[in-house]
Subunit: 112 residues, 2 copies
């Protein structure tokens, strides 16, 4: 991904590494069972919905991700990820807002 | 705002009430000093930047906000707010992802 990932909390780094490797079960395992993901304007709540979302992203796109910045404030980590691939307007920088708990990622919002 | 706001943590309810009242200093006081706000594709980091962002939104728009749903998962609270006003495409539902700490809101991301 990028050298800046060394600044990220472990759950965030694990998520971003697994995304690069399209490792669906590792991605799902990064989240708390009742986590909420918001991506492309939609909510995905709980393990099964997050698995379906993860598979959907992996099936729809071939993406290259580069971490541009990482900032942590308490349980929040905000990561700017440059995403390039087979979509109109590529590349874009996507804002990732993670809320972390000791059970994993509780909430993730991805948006421009 | 809405009956559903009674389900929100106090800092989130205070933020949304103060937005309705365009009470800039109360809004700024809801955030931790090193908080990050991401809105309309831009980051606003720290008290002074958050005050400028708050003033900018208040100056640019006359908005009506209606809380549609509130979900809390540990330190994360996710709120769907219907926003209507003087902008193209009104009304829209905006996703608000808050990360809370005992110092206030650590991070807020607003996006469709």
């Amino acid at each position: 991904m990028s050298e800046t990932l060394v600044d990220a909390p472990e759950a965030v780094a694990a998520y971003l590494r697994a995304r690069t490797d399209t490792d669906v079960e590792t991605i799902v395992g990064c989240f708390a069972p009742d986590a909420v993901v918001h991506d492309e304007g939609r909510d995905h709540v709980g393990t099964e919905a997050i698995r379906a979302w993860t598979n959907g992203v992996a099936a729809a796109y071939t993406l290259t991700r580069t971490v541009r910045s990482v900032r942590s404030i308490g349980p929040a980590t905000v990561v700017a990820v440059e995403v390039a691939g087979n979509f109109p307007g590529s590349p874009v920088v996507l804002h990732h807002h993670f809320t972390l708990t000791d059970r994993g990622i509780a909430a993730l919002t991805i948006c421009p």
